[in-house]
Symmetry: C2
Subunit: 340 residues, 2 copies
Amino acid sequence: MVGYKEVVPRRPMTRRVTLEEVARAAGVSRATVSRVVNGVASVDENIRHAVEEAISDTGYLPNLAARSLVTRRADAVALVLPDEDRVLGDPFFGRVVRGVMTVTAPAGLHLVLTTTGVGTGEQVVSDLSRGRLDGVILIHTSRNDPLPGRLVDGHHPVVLSARPPSPLPITYVDVHQISGAALAAQHLRHVGRTRLATIAGPQDTPAGQDRLRGFLAAAGTGTPWADGDFTMAGGETAMTRLLADHPGVDGVFVASDLMARGALPVLRRAGRRVPEDVAVVGFDDSSAALDCDPPLTTVRQPTEDMAAEMARLLVRQIEHPDTPVAAVIFQPTLVVRHST
Amino acid sequence: MVGYKEVVPRRPMTRRVTLEEVARAAGVSRATVSRVVNGVASVDENIRHAVEEAISDTGYLPNLAARSLVTRRADAVALVLPDEDRVLGDPFFGRVVRGVMTVTAPAGLHLVLTTTGVGTGEQVVSDLSRGRLDGVILIHTSRNDPLPGRLVDGHHPVVLSARPPSPLPITYVDVHQISGAALAAQHLRHVGRTRLATIAGPQDTPAGQDRLRGFLAAAGTGTPWADGDFTMAGGETAMTRLLADHPGVDGVFVASDLMARGALPVLRRAGRRVPEDVAVVGFDDSSAALDCDPPLTTVRQPTEDMAAEMARLLVRQIEHPDTPVAAVIFQPTLVVRHST
C-alpha cells in the first residue's frame, strides 16, 4: 500500500559549527551574525540574507535558547480548540485561526495549535511553567474544564473565547448574546410573524441562558420555548415538541444553526413550508447555516475580529503582567438568507 | 461597540524567584524541581504536581532555554498551510491538523500553525536557522514557491504534502493520483457508462497531469477532455465546452470536487439529469463534494493517515538528520454517493 522511492542521502550535521565560521563565510562581523540570529530588526535586508545563507551553507545551528534565557520569553502562544470533529471541520475554526494570526504573525509569535483532550491541560500548564509558552487562548471550554481556573491560579496570561460558565477573574471576549437573540425576535416581527417560539440552548451554559433571555425579553415573556442541547438531534426533538404543543407557530428562533439543521426537516415533514408558513432564524452563522435547506437566516458573530481581539488582549497580558482582567463584548449582526 | 468590565488586578511578577525557593515551597530537592522543569518522564506524578503548584505559587519562571541549549532542539514543528479562505475553511484542514497531531502531541512537539503569505518563507527559514523550529510540514505549495528549495538547500527537516512540481530531493507524501483517476473510470464503466469524458486539472501541476493521465489510460486515450483550473468557475467553463463538443457524453470524471460543483449546474441547465443522463465522479472528497447537488461520488485520499505519516517522516528526519529522502504514496478509495 505504501512504497518508498527516490533515495537521496541528506547531509548529516554532526560537527558543531561556530559563530565565527558563519561570520567568515558571510564576510561580516561576529556581532552582525549574532544580531541576525537574535532577530534584531535593524539589520540590513541584504546582510541578513547573506548571513542566513552562510548559516545554511555551514550547517550552523544557533539556538534561540540563549536569547530566551535573557528575554525569558518563548515568543509562542497556544490556541486551545475543543477536540470535536465539528469544530476542526467548521469554517469557524479557520476564521478563528485567521483572526488570531493577524495579531500573532506580525508580532513574531508562534501560534501553537492544541486541542482539548486527555492531558492537554497538564501539558499547557507545564509548558507555561517551563517557559515554552507565554500565554493561552482558550476556545469554548466546557463547564467542567478545570483549565481556566488553573491558569488564573497560576497567574498565566490567558484569554477565553466566551464568558466562563462560573464566575472567574479571567479575561474574555464574547458576543452580546442577548442583543443577538433580540435581533432575531425583531426580524421575525419585521417579516410579519406574530406567533413566535424559540428552541433554546442548554440552560447550564451562558450562551444558552442569554440567548433565551434575550429572545423572551424581545418577543414577550409568555413566548413558548423548548429546551435543546446545541446538537442537531436536540433541535429535531425540540421542534417536534414545539410543533405538537403550538401547531400555529409561524416564526421560530433556534439558538444555534446546528439545532436549526435538525429542526427544519421536522417542519417540512409536518407540511410546513419555510419561510412561507414558518420563518426560522438561527444563531452562529456556522457552516451548518449554509447546509440548511433553505439556507438559514442567522445571527452572526464577528468571529475574525473577536479572535484578533483575543490575541491582542493576550499580548497585552504577556507584555504587562499587571494588566487588569477585562471582558470585551462585540455586537452581533443579522445575516438574512432564505429561511425568513 | 466594545466595552470593558470586571476590572481585577493581576498579580505582577517582577522579582526573580530561584529554583531553591521552589524546592523549599514544594518540600523537595533542587534536583527534583530541575527534573520537573526539564520534563524528565520518571518523576512521580504527585511530586510533579507539587512542584508545579510550587512553581505557580512562587511565580517562578523557569526557562526551557537552558534545556534547549543542551538538546539543541526547539521541540516545535511548523505546519505551513496555503493562505486561502478555501483551505482554512475546508474540513480537509481539520483532518490534516488532526492527523499531524496524532504524532506530534504524544511526542511532546509543539505544532506551530502558519499560512503562506508575504514573509512566511523568510520567517520559517529564520526560525529553523535560529533553532525556534525543528522542521516543517508544507501543505500544497505552488509551483513558484521558493520555500521547498530553500529548505532542501539549508538541509532543514521538511516534508511536502504532494510531489513537488519540479524535481527536488525532498521527502513527500502523496496519494496515487493515477490509480485514483483509474478508479473513477472503472466506476463509470461499472455503472454502465460508455461515452466518457473528463475535466482535467491544470496541466502544469503534478495532480492535474497525473489525474488526466490515469483517466485516459483507463478510459481510452481517445477520450475527450477539457482543461480546468481546479476552481468552480473553471469547472463551469470546461463543462460548457465539453457538452457543446460532445453532447452525447454520459459519464464525466471531474478532477476536483470544486470543479464538479461548477460543472453540475451546467448539466442541469442543459436538461441533463445527474446521474440518470450523466454520471459524475469528482476527486478529493472535500466539503465541496457534499455541497454538490446531488452529493458527489468522489475519489478520497486518506487525509488523516497521510498527515500522520508526514509528521512521522518529519520526526524521523529531526532525530536522524541522515535519513534518506523518501516518498510515501497512499492508495485512494472511491466514495460512492448520488451523482453516479
